[in-house]
């Protein structure tokens, strides 16, 4: 039954909740629509200002037309195709490594028995270490990565002192991947650890009593229950990596590099915002694949627990 006071509360709730929704609609949803229109050649309305500054645009004159010229520019560019592949590869590799590392840490913490001084000491140290990157601004982290893996960095110095030639990873994609793994580790670890911790002891013990080994327990008991946090961690890491600028800008090579760097240089340095926006649309499309995965996992868990 809905009473007048109920209705008032509901409207009040909606009003209170609306400011962030409006902000996101105006400054996320709307610009993306406008930018998409721009990428297809629409230079009227809100795109007029930027279109007067930009070079090398492909334009259409009425609202029902569209031009794929900017897309053709971008996709026929050898460098873009290369960078797209590099971006997706780096995203997949760093997401995979971050998730595996976070799972190993989470399982170590979960299976540490009380009172085992060595293991609980190690567990404390590991859980502390894994969140350290959260305390450090990304700019600093990138710079630190670069100097550490540079030609005169720690790794090379150590190798030289031990009498052999070490690898130079500074200004390579290896350093970019390492940097992205480093910056994304804390969030994934916190998410997955909290998911794994929430699996009840009784379930794990029951499986162990039934003779299941650790891997079987992980696969059949823990993994299904920690699925949603794992997927949240996966999606956030993947989307964060796809949109990364600072880490690849600092630690990566001039070319090939990730699309985040390309977008900014097309926008700022080459003064070709339309091509930059096209790349943004491409990156959004890739991100949508990961986003769909996230929605699917949430939906599945809601279905499993009978909420849908």
């Amino acid at each position: 039954m809905s009473t007048p006071s109920d209705t008032r509360r509901r409207i009040g709730g909606l009003l209170m909740a609306s400011p962030p929704i409006i902000v996101v609609a105006i400054f996320v949803g709307f610009p993306i629509l406008v930018a998409m229109a721009y990428s297809f050649g629409h230079i009227g309305g809100l795109n007029r200002t930027i279109a007067t500054i930009a070079r090398g645009q492909h334009t259409v004159s009425s609202w029902h037309q569209f031009s794929l010229g900017a897309y053709r520019d971008v996709f026929t560019d050898e460098r873009f195709r290369h960078d797209l592949v590099v971006t997706i590869a780096v995203t997949l590799i760093s997401t995979l490594v971050v998730t595996v590392l976070a799972w190993v840490i989470a399982m170590y913490l979960r299976t540490t028995p009380e009172g085992a001084w060595f293991r609980s000491g190690v567990a404390k140290l590991i859980s502390g270490l894994a969140v350290v990157p959260m305390f450090i601004p990304v700019v600093i982290a990138s710079w630190a990565m670069l100097t550490f893996y540079a030609a005169d960095g720690f790794i090379r110095s150590l190798c030289a002192d031990l009498g052999f030639q070490g690898p130079t990873w500074g200004y390579t994609m290896v350093c970019v991947a390492i940097g992205l793994i480093w910056t994304n580790l804390p969030f994934a670890t916190l998410m997955i650890t909290s998911g794994v911790q929430s699996v009840p002891d009784s379930l794990i013990e029951a499986a162990r009593d039934a003779g299941a080994g650790l891997l079987t327990i992980v696969r059949t008991v823990i993994a299904p229950l920690a699925l949603v946090p794992t997927v949240i961690a996966l999606t956030f890491t993947a989307i964060g990596t796809l949109g990364a600028f600072t880490v690849p800008y600092f630690t990566g090579p001039n070319a090939p590099n990730m699309l985040g760097v390309d977008m900014v240089s097309y926008f700022r340095s080459y003064n070709r915002p339309q091509q930059s926006v096209v790349m943004a649309v491409v990156v959004f499309a890739v991100a949508a694949v990961f986003g769909a995965f996230y929605v699917w996992a949430n939906f599945r868990s809601a279905k499993d627990s009978g909420r849908v």
Partner: protein
């Protein structure tokens, strides 16, 4: 359990593996930071030595004497504080509404806020910057605050909403039954109990703004250079030791603030805040 030779060997083997993993993790995570921090105190550093040739504090003086570097520190603080105030006003009431009122579209809106995080950041900022030209927001204080604000919306709605939701309604009802007004109950019961979550959100947001570099660079440059964007040019134009000093200064607020809420962040307030209810 019977002690057997092979069992003991396996245990030692596992412990050795653990130590190796621990050292690798330590090197991977702390190594680069230490390597950078030491440089701030180095006179010169010759490859392949593992320590500098000599020690000095002169680089700190250089940073404090440089008016441009110093003004970027002030600007960063100004942006972070402004963003935090605006974000609190916009998001905290909404967080309360999401947790306590059942209005139509509640779940859709809550998930919709994630749109800010669903778009890769650089792509989003490029799209936003194109629009900022039309609104005359390029290279303005307001434009940069808007970019920073977007980075805080998810933290400032989701985490406090989870915190408000975890306050048992029975507490509020009991307080109301004993004669407390709605506002009084909110300020004496609900708010204090939800405070740890709100604090985590506030600090995460402050740092999100303080550390934001790419959007600020795209929208704010060449007028507004905050500490993180100053780093972009610093590493090219100054001795590496100056960049190291600057890095230490830039890390201090993050480290101090996160230390304050470390317990809550690691205790699951952050992870809790990202589960959909």
């Amino acid at each position: 359990m019977q002690p057997s030779a092979s069992g003991l060997l396996a245990r030692i083997g596992r412990q050795v593996l653990t130590v190796v993993f621990l050292i690798a993790l330590l090197t991977f995570i702390v190594g680069p930071l230490l390597w950078l921090a030491i440089r701030a105190f180095a006179t010169t550093w010759t490859y392949p030595r593992l320590l500098p040739d000599g020690w000095t504090l002169q680089w700190f003086g250089k940073v404090f004497a440089d008016p441009q570097l110093f003004s970027s520190i002030r600007l960063s603080l100004a942006f972070a504080v402004t963003t935090l105030i605006v974000s609190s006003l916009i998001c905290l009431p909404a967080a309360y509404a999401f947790s306590r009122f059942d209005f139509p579209g509640r779940r859709v809106f809550l998930i919709g806020l994630f749109a800010t995080n669903a778009f890769p950041k650089t792509g989003l900022y490029v799209a936003l910057a194109a629009l900022f030209y039309a609104f005359n927001l390029m290279s303005t204080f307001g434009g940069v605050v808007l970019v920073h604000l977007l980075g805080t919306v998810v933290f400032m709605t989701w985490i406090p909403a989870a915190a408000f939701a975890s306050v048992p309604r029975s507490f509020e009802e009991a307080a109301r039954d004993s004669g407390g007004g709605r506002l009084r109950v909110f300020f004496t019961i609900t708010l204090p109990l939800a405070m740890p979550g709100i604090l985590v959100a506030l600090i995460m947001s402050f740092l999100a703004s303080f550390d934001e570099a790419q959007g600020t660079y795209l929208v704010g440059a060449p007028v507004y250079y905050t500490m993180p964007t100053e780093m972009y040019s610093l590493v090219l134009n100054y001795p590496r030791q100056v960049a190291a000093v600057f890095s230490i200064l830039l890390s201090i607020p993050s480290v101090v603030l996160l230390m304050l809420v470390r317990k809550h962040v690691m205790g699951g307030q952050l992870a809790e805040g990202f589960q959909i209810r």
